[in-house]
């Protein structure tokens, strides 16, 4: 294609977009929905990943004390644990402190605790592990050793949750591509049909251009650009939708129950993910056009 062809391609694209505006709007809307679902899974995955990273940085073991331990026994137990080589420091959380912390975490919903006795929660130790011992297996060995200690009732460590959440993240990652893949295939066929309609509507124009000596590239370029624009707009709309979703969720329950609130705000997808969504949308649009063109051009081969 020569430089002077760009004007011709641009005019054909504009006239086609204008002539079938609503078809294009619907296609871009469908693409936006598919990419929104994909982006929402990506958003969930990225935020859980951030959560996991945050947990990984502050590995601690919670050891809940048996009821009825006196202050001296607690102090002895604390010193013993503190002497373990893996342990950086031990913090004792009394029943009262646990109650206060829990109320604070519930925030505006703390009234649900009314009527409960204030000593319902057990006292515990928060055991911080030295950075050099923070590998999963070492923490697990330490946790098992603690479980054998007299006076400790339940021993929990976040690695269990990290492992469980890692599985959720992995599942989300797969779901993103599997569900996204199914949606993309559907969108691909929709784009192919839309462009097919545009090609059929311009059949005479294509035939005349072929007879006048237009190259295949010149004939096909406007349709590919059309698909690309549809895809890009659809992807842009989905990113916008995701942004509003994040704004909405930030004001909603997740922050109030403290899940994300304790580890910072719910994060919007990063620029790489935005670029991926925009690229996927454009690629879907353009490839739908190319496949549609192949089908029709073969049929009308001049």
């Amino acid at each position: 294609m020569k430089g002077s062809h760009f004007g011709l391609v641009g005019r054909r694209v504009c006239s086609s977009l204008w002539a079938r505006l609503w078809t294009h709007v619907l296609t871009a809307g469908t693409m936006a929905i598919a990419l929104f679902v994909f982006g929402a899974l990506m958003l969930a995955q990225e935020n859980l990943q951030n959560l996991l990273t945050g947990w990984g940085d502050q590995i601690q073991i919670n050891a809940y004390l048996e009821k009825g331990l006196g202050p001296e026994e607690v102090s002895l137990l604390r010193d013993k644990i503190q002497s373990f080589p893996e342990v950086e420091r031990v913090r004792h959380i009394s029943r009262e402190q646990a109650w206060k912390d829990f109320r604070a975490a519930l925030g505006a919903h703390s009234n649900v605790l009314e009527g409960l006795p204030e000593d319902v929660l057990p006292a515990s130790f928060e055991i911080f592990v030295k950075p050099t011992y923070r590998d999963g297996p070492i923490v697990e060995i330490l946790a098992n050793r603690l479980r054998k200690e007299k006076g400790l009732n339940i021993v929990e460590y976040p690695q269990e949750w990290v492992d469980r959440l890692s599985l959720v993240v992995l599942a989300l990652q797969w779901a993103k591509w599997v569900l996204g893949g199914i949606l993309f295939i559907a969108v691909f066929f929709i784009v192919r049909s839309t462009v097919g309609l545009a090609i059929l509507a311009q059949k005479d124009e294509i035939e005349v251009m072929q007879l006048l000596g237009a190259t295949e590239a010149l004939i096909q370029a406007p349709f590919v650009v059309e698909g690309l624009i549809q895809g890009f707009i659809g992807a842009g709309l989905s990113v916008l939708g995701l942004w509003f979703l994040v704004l909405f969720l930030r004001d909603q329950t997740l922050t109030s129950i403290g899940l994300f609130g304790s580890l910072g705000q719910l994060q919007f997808i990063d620029w790489r993910s935005i670029a991926l969504i925009l690229a996927l949308g454009s690629l879907l649009g353009a490839s739908g056009s190319v496949f549609s063109l192949r089908r029709f051009m073969k049929r009308w081969k001049g």
Partner: protein
């Protein structure tokens, strides 16, 4: 120079539209392809601008074997051939000027140049007042001239016209033929397919008669005899 060597065209299942055609057409010739409907005139024109491929034989236009051209080569060939169809093949939503200019725009000529030349051609063909009319609003003769203007946009080596006078009355048909003769004076080869034998004989040009895919006569009055 256009050369056809043993060219045949067979459509499935086994319909021979052209049978072993051998022809030589010199630069600047005005030729009539005459014959009744189904004689193979249009098929021959389609082979010349590569809308169809020959089933057998070789077709050479200005040194190039047409059947060996790739899609870009076909596009380039068509840019050097002016086509005039019986049904004109205009884009009805475009003006006459747009339709004519499109022929140059697809070859990569700038918009300004294309439109300037298209306007000049329409003016030369007596359509100065009608350049912004859409084809359906033009008379048959005017549409014919727009089609000729479009065929001439890229200064073609060859003009192929399929029944260009089929829809015109006698006066307009004469006018069209006068135009072709004028174009020929520039050195352009013109091949006109027509079932109107009177018309072809009236202009005293070479007439290649086709019947059921065979060349049954090749008469050139300038050579005062059979051309072969």
């Amino acid at each position: 120079m256009i050369q056809l060597f043993h060219v045949s065209k067979i459509y499935p299942p086994n319909i021979a539209a052209l049978k072993d055609i051998n022809l030589q057409i010199a630069k600047g010739e005005l030729i009539f392809l005459a014959g009744p409907s189904g004689a193979g005139k249009t098929t021959l024109l389609k082979l010349l601008f590569r809308e169809e491929d020959p089933s057998q034989g070789q077709l050479i236009i200005y040194g190039k074997d047409v059947s060996k051209l790739n899609s870009r080569g076909v596009a380039r060939l068509r840019q050097q051939i002016g086509l005039v169809f019986q049904e004109f093949k205009f884009l009805p939503h475009m003006t006459a000027l747009d339709n004519v200019a499109l022929a140059a725009l697809v070859t990569g000529v700038t918009r300004r140049e294309s439109y300037t030349k298209a306007y000049q051609l329409l003016r030369d063909l007596g359509l100065r007042e009608k350049y912004d009319a859409r084809p359906p609003a033009l008379s048959g003769g005017e549409q014919q001239r727009v089609a000729i203007a479009r065929a001439l946009m890229n200064d073609p080596m060859v003009v192929l016209a399929d029944e260009p006078t089929g829809n015109l009355d006698a006066n307009l048909a004469d006018e069209t033929m006068r135009l072709f003769r004028k174009i020929r004076e520039r050195g352009t080869t013109i091949i006109v397919a027509s079932h109107d034998l009177d018309l072809s004989q009236r202009y005293g040009t070479r007439v290649i008669s086709l019947q059921e895919g065979d060349v049954v006569d090749d008469f050139s009055p300038l050579k005062e005899g059979r051309a072969g």
